[in-house]
């Protein structure tokens, strides 16, 4: 994907023709390991054609425009502090890193927010996650992507991901999509995700 590009017409003198441009807005919400919003969190979003850096707003939302929504993007984020170089210490002291995943919500293509945990520590940001922005796919794939974005990525199959999701919220782990679909879509697409009742394992 190259730079955003729009084909437009000129308007001859005396005429009123115009060109309408309606860039899409991607919205993300940045969460800490305990699913608390991270107001003013530093972030970096890497798209195919550009990198966006900045700070989340007071409600931990990040918003940026794109003319074409890519399938995925990479999001890195951290507290609103001076970046500290994180050395990949194989045995970090207790409490030096989060023990459960942070979550991030993203609103791709004006649908609504989605959430996901960090899966890596980067050099200047504590959390890093690839995020699905394209969610207009068949139901099972859409569920898989939403679960991925929400941080439920353990196991191989969609059923396993659903069970992980159900366990995190003290539900009976049936692993059936129809049992979680409404909640999953609602939480993912509106940002109204409840706190987990138990910590989730890192992917």
């Amino acid at each position: 994907m190259g730079e955003a590009e729009a084909r437009v017409a000129r308007t001859a003198g005396g005429l009123t023709h115009l060109n309408t441009l309606a860039p899409a807005v991607v919205r993300l919400r940045l969460f800490d390991p305990f699913t608390g919003p991270m107001p003013r969190a530093r972030y970096r979003v890497t798209l195919a054609d550009r990198t966006i850096e900045g700070h989340a707003d007071a409600a931990a939302w990040v918003e940026f425009r794109v003319l074409e929504i890519p399938e995925t993007c990479v999001v890195e984020w951290d507290d609103d502090e001076a970046p500290a170089l994180v050395v990949d210490d194989p045995d970090p002291p207790p409490g030096s890193r989060p023990e459960s995943p942070a979550e991030k919500y993203i609103d791709p293509a004006w649908v609504g927010p989605v959430a996901e945990p960090p899966t890596a520590v980067t050099d200047t940001y504590r959390y890093k996650q690839e995020v699905y922005l394209e969610l207009e796919v068949d139901d099972e794939e859409a569920a898989f992507r939403r679960l991925h974005n929400l941080g439920f990525t353990l196991g191989e199959t969609l059923k396993e991901h659903i069970r992980e999701f159900e366990k995190a919220y003290d539900r009976m782990a049936a692993g059936e999509l129809r049992g979680v679909q409404d909640t999953l879509w609602d939480w993912h697409d509106t940002g109204g995700v409840s706190r987990c009742t138990r910590p989730r394992a890192l992917a």
Binding site: E3, A4, E5, A6, R7, V8, A9, R10, T11, A12, G13, G14, L15, T16, H17, L18, N19, T20, L21, A22, P23, A24, V25, I52, E53, G54, H55, E63, F64, R65, V66, L67, E68, I69, D107, A109, W110, V111, G112, P113, E136, W185, D186, D189, T190, G191, G192
Partner: protein
């Protein structure tokens, strides 16, 4: 006697007339362009391969007294670039709560939004007006532009503008370009009605209350043209 000009990407009547030293209306209203005029209706939007008859320059003599200042007006007025900046299309699915409120603000003009517009090196800074409009005078043959919204902020967003490359909505490339500009992304403008274009058409049709077929029928094309080209 007139020349025939075969339209290339980036051409429009203004650019063709400018190259010939003529007002655009002189070319557009030439009797030999009647069929083209009926077919395209908008001199700003021609299709690649269209034939435009370019009349010869005609000299005109006017007698005026010496040692005086006289004003001669060129017909037509300057060529302009007119862009309307809108919020994104409505959500694909239902929204609730705060997101529903955001949804209501979508698809509305982005008013008083700071921008920098660079057309062939000529910079214009300003804010969109109360209807989200940006308007500037350009050379009739200007080809490239860049629009930067909210420059200098974390929300800065840049769009490369390909002037004169919007084809008529009757052409599939014209459909695709309008879908992309309106936020119904269909990928590369290649003139092929593929899965992404079908999907974008379905979303557009749904957003404007048309029967959702994914086909670029006449009704859909007309609505698309209205949504993109008209105030």
């Amino acid at each position: 006697m007139s020349d025939e000009h075969t339209v290339k990407p980036g051409d429009c009547i203004s650019a063709i007339a400018f190259a010939a030293g003529l007002p655009w209306a002189t070319v557009w209203n030439h009797p030999r362009n009647t069929a083209l005029k009926q077919k395209r209706q908008n001199p700003n939007i021609l299709a690649e391969g269209d034939i435009v008859h370019v009349p010869d320059l005609e000299s005109k003599q006017e007698s005026r007294g010496t040692d005086q200042r006289h004003r001669f007006m060129v017909r037509g007025g300057p060529t302009r670039l007119r862009l309307r900046i809108m919020g994104p299309p409505p959500p694909r699915s239902g929204s609730t709560g705060a997101d529903g409120e955001r949804a209501r603000r979508r698809n509305e003009p982005l008013r008083y939004l700071a921008y920098v517009l660079d057309v062939d090196g000529q910079l214009q800074r300003g804010t969109t007006d109360g209807s989200g409009l940006i308007e500037c005078t350009i050379r009739p043959n200007a080809r490239d532009g860049r629009l930067v919204l909210e420059p200098g902020t974390e929300r800065e967003f840049s769009i490369a503008l390909k002037l004169g490359e919007l084809e008529p909505v009757e052409a599939m490339r014209g459909v695709q370009a309008r879908l992309n500009n309106l936020g119904f992304h269909c990928g590369r403008v290649d003139g092929i009605l593929g899965p992404r274009t079908h999907r974008a058409l379905r979303r557009f049709q749904s957003s404007v209350g048309l029967r959702v077929t994914g086909e670029a029928d006449a009704t859909t094309r007309n609505r698309l043209r209205d949504a993109h080209d008209s105030a």
